[in-house]
C-alpha cells in the first residue's frame, strides 16, 4: 500500500461519486470511493493519509455525524464537505466540528480541485501558524462596521434579502458589502469566510 496522500470520496449518490472519482483520476489524484459513512468507517484504517470529500446529507450516518465520530476516535483527517445550495447552518456546524472547507453544489470543479490539492499537500500539517493568524486578524481589521454586520448575518445563514430587511438597506447594497468583505478577506466563497471567522475567534457562530 502506497503511503501517498489519497482523496476519500464519501457520497451516497452513485453518479456524483463516480463523477468525482473520474475527475480525480483525470488529474492523477489517487482516489477511493465509499457509498456511505459506515462504509468509510469500516475501511478508513487502511488509509491514514489523505483527505476526505464528504457529502453532508446521506441516509444512515450523515457527513457531520461521521466527522464527529472521527473526532471521537481521535482520527485527524482534513475534511471537505459538499453541501446543497444555501445550507449555511450545516456548513457552520461542519466548520466548527473541524472541517477545513465546504463547497456548495453545484460547484466549480477548478475550485474543488484546488482545494483538494491544497488539502493533500498540507494534509500532514493542518495547524495554522501564528503568522497566518496575524494575517487574518489584520484583514478583519480592515472591515467597516457595516461590512462586519453584513458578515455576521451571512454567518447566521441569512440570505441577502433577509439581511437587507434587517439592516434596512437595499439587497443591492448588501451585495456590494458582501463583495467588499470577500475582497478584503481574500475569500473566494462563503466557506472561506466561515473558516476565517472560525479561525479568528472574533465571531459568534451559531
Amino acid at each position: 500500500m502506497k503511503h501517498e496522500p489519497m482523496i476519500h470520496i464519501v457520497d451516497d449518490d452513485d453518479a456524483v461519486r463516480d463523477a468525482l472519482y473520474v475527475l480525480m483520476c483525470s488529474q492523477d489524484i489517487p482516489a477511493q470511493t465509499y457509498s456511505s459513512a459506515e462504509d468509510f468507517l469500516d475501511q478508513h484504517a487502511q488509509f491514514k493519509l489523505g483527505c476526505l470529500l464528504l457529502d453532508v446529507r446521506m441516509p444512515g450516518m450523515n457527513g457531520l455525524q461521521l466527522l464527529k465520530e472521527l473526532n471521537k476516535q481521535n482520527i485527524s483527517i482534513p475534511v471537505i464537505f459538499i453541501t446543497g445550495h444555501g445550507d449555511v447552518t450545516m456548513a457552520v456546524e461542519a466548520m466548527k466540528a473541524g472541517a477545513i472547507d465546504f463547497i456548495e453544489k453545484p460547484f466549480d470543479n477548478e475550485y474543488l480541485l484546488n482545494r483538494v490539492n491544497n488539502c493533500l499537500s498540507e494534509c500532514l500539517n493542518i495547524n495554522h501558524t501564528n503568522e497566518q493568524r496575524q494575517q487574518i486578524e489584520a484583514m478583519i481589521e480592515t472591515l467597516t462596521s457595516r461590512e462586519r454586520q453584513v458578515m455576521e448575518l451571512l454567518l447566521e445563514g441569512k440570505q441577502n434579502k433577509v439581511i437587507a430587511r434587517e439592516l434596512d438597506i437595499s439587497p443591492r447594497t448588501v451585495e456590494l458589502h458582501r463583495a467588499k468583505v470577500m475582497k478584503k478577506l481574500d475569500a473566494h466563497s462563503l466557506s472561506d469566510i466561515i473558516r476565517i471567522a472560525l479561525f479568528s475567534g472574533q465571531f459568534k457562530l451559531s
Partner: protein, 576 residues
Amino acid sequence: MKKLKQAAQGDEAATPKTELLAELKNMSQQELLQQFRLLQAEIEVPIDVDGDERLAHELQVYRIELEMQNRELQEAQQELELTRDRYADLYDFAPVSYASFDAKGIIKNINLTGAAMLNQPRANIIDHPFLKWVSTADVNVFFRHLQKTLQTDSKTVDEIQIKNQQGEFFNVRLESIRSGSAAANVFLCQSVMLNVTEQKQAQNEISLQARQLKLITDALPVMIAYLDADEQHLFANKTYIDWFALSPAKIIGKRAREVWEEKIYSKVKTYLNIALLGRSTTFDMDLPVDEAEKKYISATIIPDYDVNQQVHGVILLIGDITERLALEVVDRKRLLDAAHVSRLNTMGEMASEIAHDLNQPLAAISIYSDACRRMIELKKAEPEAILQILTDISAQAERASDVMRRIRAFVSKKELLLVKTSINEVIEEAMYLLNVELRSHDVKLILSLADNLPLVLVDRILIEQVVLNLARNAIEAMETIDIAQRLLKIYSIAEGSNEIEVCIEDAGPGMSSDEMSHIFEPFHTSKKNGMGMGLAICHSIIDTHHGRLWATSNDHGGTIFSFTLPLMAEEPDHEA
C-alpha cells in the same frame, strides 16, 4: 196472492170448511172405520126387505165415502197451507228484499226485508208508488228498468239509488223478471232489490286508492310501468308516458317492443327476460334517443308473482340519471381542478427537494464533462475511457429528464383516467418523488407492500397524490421527534376479498381525538403556510374511487392514515 197476503197479515175470518175439518178431526179414525165395516156387512147380506131400506143404506154408504174423500181433501189443503205459510215466511224473512211493481211503478207487494230497507210499515208501502223512495237522479233509470222488464222475458239488471224515510241513501241493484199472464195482459215486475251500498263504497274506496296511487306515481320522478307476461303495458305513470312522449293510449295495452322501439328494446330485453324468469335485476345503461343525444338510465325490474308463484308480470322502475351524471361530471371536474391546484402546491413546497433531485444528475454531468475535457487537454484520453464517461453523462441526462418527466406528469392536469393499476407501483412512484424529502428530514422509510395484490381501477396521478400527501404529512408530523425515531411505514394489504388497503403510519406525537375529528374538513390546518385543503382533497379523491380514507392512532402515539380502494368487481360510472 191475496190469500197469502191475508195469511201474512193474520186477518183471516173463520170459515165453515174449517169447522167441518174440526168436526172430522174430533171423530176418531177407528170409529169411522168401524161404522164403515158395519155398513159394508149390512150391504152384503141379501136383503129381501123392501127397497127403501136398501136405498137408505146405500145412501148412507155414499155419505161416508164422501166424507172420507172430503177429509182427504181437507188434509191436502192443510198441507198446502202449511207449505204456503213456509214460503210466505221465506219471502218475508229472506235476507234480500223482494218487491213487485205494476207497470206504473206502484208497489204491489214487498217483503219484510224490503219494508225494513225502506224503513216503513208494509201498509205504508203497498199500493204506493216506488218513486217516493227513488233518488230524483235515478227516476228515469227506474222507469226504463220497469219498461224493459215488462217487455221481455229475460232478467233486467240496473242500479239505482234510493232514499229511505230516515233520509239514508242506499245503492240498490234491481234484478227483475216479468210475472203474470200474457193472456190477461197483466204483468208484474218481480224484483230482487240488493243493497250494494257497502259494495259500492268499497268500490269507491278502491277507485279512490287507485286515484291516490296514480297521483303519487304520477308525481314521482321515476318512470314506473307494469308489464304483463306478454310484455304488454298494463300501467304506466305520467313520468313514463311523458318520457316516451306518447299518448297513454299508445302505451297502455301495447307491447314493450312497440312502445320502446327496437333500439331500446334490444338493449333492455336481456334484463326484462331475467325479471320474467323470476329474478329482480338492477342495471345502468345509456339509451340512444336520437343520433346526437343519449340518455342514461338506472333501472330496476321486479317480477310480480301470481298465487301459483308464476311470474305474471314485471314492475319497471326507471330513473333518468342523465342530469345527475352531468352534475357528477361537473363535481368531478371541480375535484380534478382542486386536486391539480393541490399538486402544484405540493410541488411548490417540495421545490428545494426537487431542485436537489435535479442537482445530483446535473452535478454529475458537469463533473463528468469537466473530467473529460481535462483528460483530452492532458492528452491522456483513452477513447474507451471517454466513451465510458460519455455513456455515464448520457445516463445522467436521462436521469434528470426522468425527474422532470415525473414531476411534469404529477403536476399535469388531465381528465379522470381510470386504468387497471398495481397499487404498489403507485406507492413506489410517490416514494420516488418523496425520496429527497425523506433524506433531508432524516426519516427512515419502511415499505411493506404485499405481493400479488389484485389490480385496482384508479387514476394513477390522483392516488399517487394521496399517497404523497399522506406521506409528507407523516414526515412533517415527525419533525419534533428525535431523528433516530423518525420512521415512516407504508404498507399495502388485501383487505377481505373486495378491497385493498394502504396504510401510512408515522411515529410522531399523534393527534388529539378532537383534532382527528376535524382533519378532513376543508381549511382545517396545523401548518403555518397550509391551506388546509390537502386532506379534504385526498378524501374526495378516495371517495371518487369508491374507497374510504380515515385516520387512527397507533399504539405508540403516532397516527395511521389508511385508505381502501375497491377491487374491480364493478365497472365505475361512465368514464369521461
